[in-house]
Symmetry: C2
């Protein structure tokens, strides 16, 4: 509901046209359109339409013509491959009333790629080097299909391959720079993403409270929830960067005052494991994981970070009770008396893995991931998390949902958020957790 404030009437309009039957049938989710939406929004455009249309010359002709008449900028993806369904180039050359011509630099690039792979060039590969005469070629380092940039009076059109990483490469290196050159008068738009983990959206929203009074005149705030945590997006636009920045500064300050303790960092793709990794590296500390209910998810999160082998000793996936007692040294009587999902077992797992792998920090998870296995006393979603910080031990408990995969993801996010808070000396735990010191 905060989005509206982000748009103003005098913004330049952009359309996105996604070509491909696989998108209409539902076999492929249209991630390209949202990625392009982010690029365009950040360069100050108002994205006004996304048209998803079939690999059909008539539909392509109709929609590109329509968008050229309505939007200042149109980005088209798809239909540039070597197969017979890929007709975009032919249609565009009709719209711009020009021939398809061979571009030597493109053909040479395609030739090199095929040579490297040891394949022979076919006629359809050679045709990939043909482009409408009036376009600027957007040189595609990531694949064989060239991108294209057109203009017709004061309307602009970019045609890009549908392969996601090729599209992204061309947007970033070719299209965005051209947009900035072509529309230097655009309102500056600044956007920042702040990341939280282990806190439900409603709790976060309670802490932040009502921002309505600040959200207007080109300033926006949005919550983007995911099982691993809520991302907060703030943005502001203004006639130049200074004005936009000034507006953003104010909303950023409000956000930090109200919810700073819950924010682990800045950046849309920042991972909590990365933040923790940085602190562990700085302090020369090592970590190890003992996973029951998360079954490897937590280790995977930590090892997704390049260079994590410096501080990540490894872990034990202790799925069976035998492994918990035999390998991690959990007391068999405690397993019997309190059950595998208990404070006692969580703490002993954390201590056990730290000692076994000779790590400074041991963390553990044990819970009922679901969908089966719950009782009235220990329902599906009940999770105990154990922590051993250089001898200082504690455990936390929470109840998540009935969904096995979401429970694994939320457990890992919550454990990592607790590690972060402990590392930076922030006491108090994410909401909904019941601390249980032994």
């Amino acid at each position: 509901m905060f989005y509206k404030a982000l748009f103003s009437l005098d913004m330049k309009k952009a359309h996105i046209i996604s070509i491909g039957n696989e998108l209409l049938i539902g076999d492929t989710i249209n991630t390209n359109a949202s990625k392009i939406g982010i690029y365009l929004t950040e360069t100050g455009f108002s994205v006004d339409r996304v048209f998803t249309i079939p690999d059909d010359p008539e539909a392509i002709h109709e929609h590109i013509s329509f968008s050229l008449s309505q939007a200042d900028l149109t980005i088209v993806t798809g239909g540039l491959g070597p197969t017979h369904d890929d007709v975009t180039k032919r249609v565009v050359s009709e719209i711009f009333k020009c021939r398809l011509v061979n571009k030597k630099v493109v053909l040479e690039h395609i030739r090199q790629i095929f040579k490297k792979r040891g394949f022979k060039l076919s006629q359809s590969n050679i045709e990939q080097a043909m482009v409408p005469e009036v376009c600027d070629v957007l040189f595609n380092k990531m694949g064989t299909a060239p991108g294209m940039w057109f203009h017709l009076e004061n309307r602009y059109l970019a045609v890009l391959p549908g392969v996601p990483y090729e599209m992204e490469y061309l947007m970033e290196h070719e299209v965005v720079p051209r947009i900035r050159n072509t529309f230097p008068f655009l309102d500056a738009c600044v956007t920042e993403y702040y990341k939280t983990a282990g806190i439900p959206e409603s709790t976060l929203s309670d802490h932040i409270g009502n921002l309505d009074e600040f959200v207007n005149n080109g300033v926006g705030v949005a919550f983007l929830p995911a099982p691993s945590g809520v991302t907060i997006r703030i943005s502001a636009s203004g006639e130049n960067n200074e004005v936009a920045e000034e507006k953003l500064k104010f909303i950023r300050q409000q956000l930090k005052e109200r919810a700073g303790a819950y924010i682990f960092g800045k950046g849309k793709n920042l991972k909590l494991a990365e933040v923790i990794g940085r602190v562990l590296n700085e302090r020369n500390l090592s970590i190890a994981v003992a996973e029951s209910c998360t079954g490897g998810f937590l280790g995977n999160e930590l090892t997704n970070i390049p260079g994590s082998s410096v501080y990540m000793k490894g872990g034990v996936i202790a799925y069976s009770n035998d492994v918990k007692s035999g390998l991690l040294g959990v007391n068999k009587e405690d397993l019997e008396n309190f059950g595998a999902v208990s404070k006692q077992v969580a703490i002993q797992m954390a201590i056990g893995v730290a000692s076994l792998l000779n790590a400074d920090i041991g963390i553990s998870t044990t819970g009922i991931a679901g969908p089966g296995g719950g009782t009235t006393e220990k329902p599906v979603g009940l999770v105990w998390m154990g922590f051993s910080f250089q001898g200082n031990t504690f455990a936390l408990q929470t109840i998540f949902s009935n969904d096995r995969l979401i429970n694994k993801e939320r457990t890992a996010a919550t454990v990592l958020e607790c590690v972060r808070r402990q590392l930076i000396g922030l006491h108090g735990y994410p909401y909904e957790l019941k601390p249980n010191y032994p």
Copy 2:
């Protein structure tokens, strides 16, 4: 490239309209459109357009009117929430020239939900119970916003909330049954998904060869590639189910003859770990994992399957060499002489984890996940996988890409495909693997 054959000119056309600024800005990926695309394709419609448009009354009016004039069926999602941006209902009542009226059954439903949560009904909540007079209410058990079904001569329109699980509930329980009643003469369309893992799309395509001669007259084949494997989708339509089934049977047979050995099962959401779990359960076998480069990903895949605790003993994330030698018993000299990424270490890790966790099967991964850490001799993407099957041991090697996360995912998929092949006595390994028996 095979998609075209799936469409025929006399099919009924459907449009999808997705309303929401968050979709245009790129904050939210439009997964609703692809899910609706699947529902519509399976009921025999040709999905002809997806329009993604802003929360703007004019745009909503323009596009719903356009789709009502062009498509036999239009599905609209979004803009039904309680906030002021949610204007879809007002626009639709204008298009159908009728009043918004209060529906008691809907209001009572909303009242119950709020009572259960202990909240007070606000005016905006009461307004959610208002619907255009001429619609059939699609009762929404999953939330407070009702769905709506309209018809205007022989054109049909469904308006649904944008919350994914509410949309899905209403599509499945309300919209699809109405479609089947309203369009009983529609061609039947049958679709099947076959899953493969650990085989690149190009290799699979080489095995299957040219299917062009079979792909026509309402029969389609498509490859849907992902790092974890390629899904093959076959579909057929005909005047009734028998005719469609007959066509599908033929293409299914061709597929199985040509690539049967690479298919691990049927079903779009089927996981390889589930198939392996079934076999392990049947044979009363247990498994354990020793993960270096996958860092927990492989264990996570196995433990994502409900009930996996029966056969999954657990594992060791052996990220540091100390853990490889200390815990898994890998020979220190071998680690030194051959390096951590080697046949010898992979096999000893597999043997070690099977013995340590007392499992029938031990599997291991060790590789250079990237982006750093490669050498000319051992480049980024080099992976060794070790296997110990009740004493029978071997290792396989391959080179994947430069992307750390994709390398983890592909490694896990390839290891699991090798386990499946070994379990069912299928010799030969997925393409690109170099078997190295010790």
